[in-house]
């Protein structure tokens, strides 16, 4: 028994030393070497899990798919209407660019990163070695995927909008209509919930939710309002938000790196 207690204390002390050393970055090189094969295996496992879920999904959720098709039809019809407004804006934008005579500043560059694991957070195969830093934004096209939480030599952990405890300041915009409809905070609690929106502000199903700045890059798409929750006696109203990407189905994302 004494030997066991001694071993327990020794291993506990050793583990604490490891934590301390790793926090100080003393094992960066060793972790970098160990991470290489682990990331390669995890990437394969992750790809397999996505393929398996895609294969099994049609058999298990026909009803859900039918519902999704109906929703997509409705959304498609709305998009056709918006398309018209958008094409006018594009034309105007093109003319403005010509007038300015300058291309858009290439301030940001995108670093493609493979997703190697997902849970409440996402893990990608790019790290410090590739120029990733804590706090950088991660996107898929112009849709927000998350923010880099921690970086090791060859991998990074990304906080998703759906990670519990995550709060993102957002703006609500109505497709085909200029300006900001409302402001709020996007919280992850059993799905994405838009809260802190004043009762006086007009939000409705189908409105776009985009990042509102502060610690986040502005104007990145996050999702669509799928349901405005019944108004209560509170000062603020709430809504359910449907993300524009399925985070657990992503294989590749882009880290926005400043030059």
């Amino acid at each position: 028994m004494k030997k066991e207690v001694f071993l327990f204390l020794f291993l506990t002390f050793f583990s604490a030393l490891l934590v301390f050393g790793d926090k100080r970055g003393m094992f960066k090189r060793i972790r970098g070497i160990l991470d290489q094969p682990i990331l390669a295996i995890e990437e394969k496992i992750y790809s397999l899990s996505i393929s398996a879920s895609q294969f099994l999904n049609p058999f298990s959720s026909k009803k859900r798919l039918l519902k999704e098709i109906a929703e997509l039809r409705e959304e498609n019809w709305r998009l056709v209407v918006d398309q018209n407004a958008l094409s006018l804006c594009l034309e105007e934008n093109e003319q403005m660019r010509k007038l300015l005579g300058a291309p858009l500043p290439a301030k940001w560059k995108f670093l493609p990163a493979k997703v190697v694991g997902i849970g409440e957070e996402m893990r990608v195969d790019k790290g410090e070695k590739d120029g990733v830093e804590t706090g950088m934004m991660v996107v898929e096209e112009n849709i927000l995927v998350g923010k880099v939480k921690s970086v090791s030599e060859r991998s990074s952990i990304i906080l998703l909008p759906t990670t519990p405890g995550q709060k993102i300041p957002v703006l609500i915009k109505r497709p085909g209509k200029g300006g900001v409809q409302a402001r709020g905070i996007l919280e992850a609690s059993g799905g994405l919930i838009l809260s802190w929106v004043l009762q006086s502000e007009d939000i409705q199903k189908g409105d776009l939710v985009v990042t509102g700045g502060e610690d986040w890059l502005p104007d990145l798409l996050v999702g669509l309002i799928s349901e405005v929750l019944p108004k209560s006696a509170e000062i603020y109203q709430k809504a359910r938000v449907k993300p524009l990407v399925e985070y657990d189905k992503l294989r590749m994302v882009f880290v926005i790196i400043s030059k």
């Binding site: 030997k3 066991e4 071993l7 327990f8 291993l11 506990t12 050793f14 583990s15 604490a16 030393l17 490891l18 934590v19 050393g21 790793d22 926090k23 094992f27 972790r31 160990l34 991470d35 682990i38 295996i41 995890e42 990437e43 496992i45 992750y46 899990s49 190697v116 694991g117 997902i118 849970g119 409440e120 957070e121 893990r123 921690s150 090791s152 991998s155 990074s156 952990i157 990670t163 519990p164 405890g165 657990d248």
Partner: protein
């Protein structure tokens, strides 16, 4: 030495957890190992399992080891006074440990994961007791 072969499936579970699996199977295996193979091996297995998990999940090295070692020590103390091989005890302990684990690492209580682990642990404990340890008498759930 043969006891340490358990580290292979643990490594595999750690990789699965790192890639996509939300269930804490490493924790479950370590708890069962500590109960059914008590001794200094259980502490070493807990330590290495924690390292595997930290590497697979990309989190700070040693954090999971610390928690797993503490869990093993709790089980060790409990088994000195009570029968820790009781399936119901194992199921409750595994489930609570998983829920607290999710609170520490993910910042929320993962009740769903805890319930699934409860069922899994109960099934595993009953199976282990009836097939590998039949001398322990009748199963009392």
């Amino acid at each position: 030495m043969r006891n340490y072969l358990i580290l292979f499936p643990i490594f595999l579970f750690a990789l699965l957890q790192g890639a996509f699996l939300p269930l804490n199977l490493v924790l479950l295996v370590v708890i069962f190992f500590a109960v059914f193979r008590p001794g200094k091996e259980s502490f070493l297995v807990a330590f290495f399992s924690g390292l595997f998990l930290d590497l697979a999940k990309g989190i700070t090295l040693g954090v999971s080891s610390l928690i797993l070692l503490f869990i093993c020590y709790l089980l060790r103390v409990y088994s000195r006074h009570f029968n820790s091989r009781q399936p119901i005890f194992l199921a409750i302990f595994s489930s609570l440990a998983a829920i607290l684990w999710s609170r520490v690492f993910q910042g929320f209580f993962d009740w769903r994961g805890g319930i699934i682990l409860f069922v899994l642990a109960l099934f595993l404990a009953v199976t282990l007791r009836s097939f590998w340890f039949p001398d322990e008498g009748k199963i009392k759930i």
